[in-house]
Point group: C2
Chain length 343, copies 2
DNA sequence: CTGAAAGCGCTTACAG
DNA sequence: CTGAAAGCGCTTACAG
């Protein structure tokens, strides 16, 4: 079973050409006489030869890999993003080195150290400290250091010059959501949020206030409900808090689909009907929306093109990227929203 | 910004030792005089030096990476498995090269070619043709060829000697599920399945029949419902088919949590109550179970330890692995099952 | 179009 | 404990 490594030299010897010629055929950089090429290809086939990517990486000083660092690889949002990145990377002949930081600062440090050794051609960073509303100077200096080793792109705001940021347009998503509900006739709208320390939440909170005010809708602070985390549990917590209020809004926005799913459970359990008694919307348009009953209307993004953009920005540094880009959002209508009923 | 690569030679020169000494300090293979070590470490710090993993890979002929090839990286089951693998790999200082085949044969071919170039120390393969009940000879020969380049472990049955297979114990999962429902008092149990060509389905179908028979429960073939795929849609299709029957069972097993979620929607929509009118169970115990209302009872696995096993088998070829292992299963009780009511 | 040779940045026998 | 040197398997100026 111990098959010794067959190299370009073995191929060259057998095909009676120089190793350089074999290499040229492999890389396709120079044209080679057809006769030789044929002979070489035959030998390659015969030995089932595959050039060693590590050696090539060293010689070419590039290794056709992109490090993808995500906060929680088993979270639907992140797994959609990186599945999209993977498919674009694959299309371009690149492989993704997946690393999960579990949102822990100490992991972020060691993962970035690892990236510095691995020398991927680029790193795409999604989630974790990068999303903090107030940038963490220690993390910034870690990023700055990592920039010496590889190009960085973040699925967030750009933290530093030279690091493009591509992220969901949180403000647009909130504006669209509120206007959609208002369009349905809702005036009393609540928002169940979490992660106030993150820019995505901060942006949505600010935008929520701005749009509600602009539309002359009542802004009641007890309808801005903070919960512990981005989960079904968080949503249930939100529902509990809501149900203690003397007056509840006619429509509710959940931080993401998971939170909305939790909200839905809590509301249903309390005997409320959705959307007859209260409308409910989520963010992210993950497959969670298809599992709830009623199915959840949600603000979505085109993950496929988001991933493609991230990879493009990662691999085409020469292009003149805007430092900050926001990807478009849209509303995916399902069954959880309706005109407000009279109660 | 163009920082030229600082190498072990630069460090050596400045620390006034030989490159070999720097290398020894980095790898920690030999003891080095404390005085020199200190000096070298200082210079390393000063330049923020990180050894080039590509060069190291070439010299050591190992690159601390594992290729993880999955069928659908954004599917909850697979993303749980690889999140678990990632955390174990990371713990061991390995990085995962993630590749997604989207279950397409042509992608499997090119992905495995890619693996042969990349020379990861091992490859973990989950999903796709490997799961076919009837092995595909063409795929087997591709695997055999890939074995010449890297060790292979599959999250399935072992396809070939030398390739350990670690997989969910589908038979045990089905037996446990049926016995659980029978224990609740159910005699009329249905199974909504898909992917009959895959061994996991075949095993569960066979075991379903065996256990039902053993328990003297009625085996009606119209209660074995085949649907198009492993999705919510598949589940809804199952519900439609079921509702056309003149007599429906008192309990239903769905192929996985997604299918069960679809079944639930279909049954609820038809005015049935779960679990009062009909009990419902899923397989895989993904987070989908927490999103449905009622929450779904499901047969689960310990993903964390499954991932750890896969990585262990991948990285410890010297150990005497059984060629085939099955990971244990358990029932996670939630709210979707109850004793049969009288209708 | 093609070959000989140097180089990519490490590691590791081999000597001492 | 430590250095000089060869080697890992490629690519790519440099000459021809």
């Amino acid at each position: 079973m111990e098959k010794k490594n067959v190299t370009i030299y073995d191929i060259a010897r057998e095909a009676q050409v120089s190793p350089a010629t074999v290499s040229r055929i492999l890389t396709g950089t120079t044209s080679v006489r057809e006769e030789k090429r044929k002979k070489v290809m035959e030998v390659i086939e015969k030995y089932d030869f595959h050039p060693n990517a590590n050696a090539r990486a060293l010689a070419e000083n590039r290794n056709k890999s992109i490090a993808m660092v995500v906060a929680h690889s088993d979270n639907s949002y992140y797994s959609s993003v990186f599945a999209a990145c993977e498919s674009e990377a694959y299309r371009r002949g690149y492989v993704l080195l997946l690393m999960d930081t579990s949102s822990r600062a100490e992991n972020e440090v060691s993962v970035l150290k690892r990236v510095q050794e691995l020398r991927p051609e680029a790193m795409i960073l999604c989630g974790g400290r990068i999303d903090l509303e107030k940038q963490d100077p220690e993390f910034l200096s870690l990023l700055r250091q990592t920039m010496g080793f590889t190009r960085i792109v973040v699925g967030s705001r750009s933290p530093l010059p030279g690091i493009p940021g591509i992220s969901v347009d949180h403000r647009a998503s909130m504006e669209m959501a509120v206007r959609y509900l208002a369009g349905l006739g809702h005036r009393e709208i609540g928002f169940v949020y979490t992660g106030k320390q993150f820019y995505g939440t901060a942006e949505r909170l600010a935008e929520f206030r701005r749009v509600m005010k602009g539309l002359n809708l009542p802004l009641r602070k007890e309808w801005l409900i903070g919960v512990k985390d981005y989960s079904v549990d968080g949503g249930q917590e939100g529902a509990e808090k809501l149900l203690k209020l003397e007056k509840i809004p006619t429509a509710l926005l959940g931080m993401n689909d998971m939170v909305s799913a939790g909200l839905l459970q809590g509301l249903l359990a309390a005997g409320l009907r959705v959307p007859e008694d209260i409308s409910l919307m989520g963010f992210d348009d993950t497959f969670v929306t298809c599992i709830t009953a009623p199915q959840l209307t949600s603000v979505g993004y085109d993950y496929q093109s988001y991933g493609a953009e991230l990879v493009r920005a990662a691999l085409e540094p020469e292009a003149e990227w805007e430092q900050d880009r926001r990807i478009p959002v849209f509303i995916e209508e399902r069954a959880s929203c309706a005109a407000p009923g009279k109660r």
